[in-house]
Symmetry: C2
Subunit: 257 residues, 2 copies
C-alpha cells in the first residue's frame, strides 16, 4: 500500500510533525510505501493565480476552471501542481495532517486544494462523486485542536469539529475518495520536542501511541456515509425520502432556522 | 459610516470585482467612506510563517499564537498585517467578498484570517465573542457560487451554503463582530466585463442591481443569532435548555449520526 501524508504546519518540531513521523514509522515497519508532502518545507504557493499558468485559453480574462482545464489538456500545469497530482494518484490512502486554524485548514492547505484539485484533471462535471477520478482510493483528515475536548464536542462553544470538517471531507468525496472518519486530537498547544511539563509530556506521548494504533488500523477504519447518485434529482436536489447523513444536506422538515 | 471590503478574486474583470465596484459606488454616493483591501492586487501572503515575525519570543520553536502575541506587544507585527488590522478597526462594517472554492474561502482570504486575526491584538482568552475586540462593528460574507441555486440550497448536492459559511461566520463572531446574514449569489461562472450572451448578461446586470439594493439596506439587514455568554458552562459546553441556533452546536438529543 502507498500512503501519502500532506502536512501543513510551519514548525518542524510541532506536534503535527511528530504525528507524521509516528505514522511514517508504522508504515515503514510493515513495508508499505510512504510519501510526505510537507507543504511548508516545499514552500508551496497557496494562492491560485494567473501567473501559475504557462499557457492561456483566454489571455484577456483569468477564469480558474477554464485555465486549469486548458493547461491540463496541454500538459502545461505548474510543476509543483503536477508533482502533487502525481502523489495523489500514487497513493492508496491520503492523510491530510493539519492544525485547525479559525475553524478551517491553514491557508497553505486550502490553497493546495484550490490549486491541485485541477478541473479537467481530477474532476469534471461528469467525473465527480461516485464517478470521481479518485474512486477506489481512501482519504482522511487528521486534525489537531488547541481547545480542550469539551469545547470542540457536539455541545462545545468552538462548534462540533466533526461538522466543521464537513466541507473538507466533502471536497474529498467530490473527487471520488472513500472518506474515513477524521482523526481529531484536542488540547494540543505549543510544540512537542520541547515540552517539559510532565503532565503535558505524558498526554502528548499517549497521543502519539494512539496515533500509531490508528495508523495501524486504517484498513478497518469507519467510513463517512454520503448520498448515492440515485438520491439526487435532475436539478441536484435530494429526492423526497432519501436518507440524510449530515445537516449540510437535508429535507425541508429538518431545516433549522 | 466606514465600510471595508476585503476582496479575494484573482481576476480584475471578475464578477466579484464588479460587485465590489457597485458597492463602492453606492457607499460613495451617500458620502460614507470606503476602503477596499484587494488581496490579490496587494499580493497578500497567505501562509502564516516564522519569517513574518521580526522578533521572536522563542527563536527555537515557532508557535503561532506565542509569536503573534509577542510581536503585537512589541509593536513589531508585519507591515501588511498591521495595515489590515488598521483597516478592520477603522471600519463600522466589514464585507468579505469572495467566490466559494472547494466549499470554503480562497486560500488568500483564509490566510488573511490566519495572519491578521492576531492573538493578543484582535482576541485573547478573555476578549472574544461578547467581549471581543470588534464588538459594536458589523461584518458580513458576500459570496459567489459557480453552481446553480438549487444545488446550493438546503437540499442541494453542493451542501447548504448558509451552513458551509458557518465556520467563517463564527470566526467573525469570535472577534466580537455582529454578523449579518450572508449575501449569496449562485450561478456565477466566468467573468463579467466580457460576458456577451444576452441571458447571462441580463442575469449579471440584475444581480448587480440587487447588490446595490443590498448594500443600500445593510443598516436594516438581519443578523445571525449566536448563543449568549450565560448559555455556556465552565467547560464551555452548552447548558441544558439553552437555545440552539445552528447544528454545529447542539444538545445531545439533536445530534445526528
Amino acid at each position: 500500500m502507498n500512503i501519502l501524508i500532506v502536512l501543513a504546519h510551519p514548525e518542524p518540531q510541532s506536534f503535527n510533525h511528530a504525528l507524521t513521523a509516528a505514522a511514517s514509522d508504522v508504515v515503514k515497519a510493515r513495508d508499505d510505501e510512504i510519501r510526505v508532502s510537507d507543504l511548508y518545507a516545499l514552500g508551496f504557493t497557496p494562492d491560485e493565480h494567473s501567473r501559475h499558468f504557462r499557457q492561456r485559453a483566454n489571455p484577456d480574462l483569468f477564469d480558474v476552471q477554464t485555465e486549469q482545464r486548458f493547461n491540463a489538456a496541454k500538459a502545461s500545469l505548474a510543476p509543483d501542481v503536477r508533482q502533487q497530482i502525481e502523489n495523489l494518484l500514487w497513493a492508496d490512502i491520503v492523510i491530510l495532517q493539519f492544525p485547525l486554524w479559525w475553524f478551517g485548514m491553514p491557508a497553505i492547505l486550502k490553497g493546495w486544494m484550490d490549486r491541485v484539485f485541477v478541473y479537467g484533471e481530477l474532476y469534471s462535471g461528469s467525473r465527480r462523486f461516485h464517478t470521481g477520478v479518485c474512486r477506489g482510493r481512501r482519504a482522511v483528515l487528521s486534525v489537531t485542536l488547541g481547545s480542550d475536548v469539551e469545547a470542540c464536542g457536539y455541545n462545545g462553544q468552538e462548534g462540533d469539529t466533526r461538522l466543521i470538517l464537513w466541507p473538507a471531507n466533502y471536497a474529498l468525496h467530490y473527487l471520488g475518495f472513500t472518506v474515513l472518519e477524521p482523526r481529531i486530537v484536542a488540547g494540543v498547544r505549543g510544540g512537542y520536542s520541547n515540552e517539559e511539563a510532565p503532565s503535558r509530556r505524558r498526554f502528548l506521548d499517549e497521543t502519539i501511541r494512539d496515533h500509531r494504533r490508528w495508523i495501524g488500523g486504517l484498513d478497518e477504519a469507519a467510513t463517512l456515509a454520503f448520498n448515492a447518485p440515485d438520491d439526487w434529482d435532475e436539478r441536484r436536489r435530494l429526492k423526497p425520502g432519501a436518507p440524510v447523513y449530515h445537516p449540510f444536506i437535508r429535507h425541508r422538515a429538518e431545516q433549522s432556522g
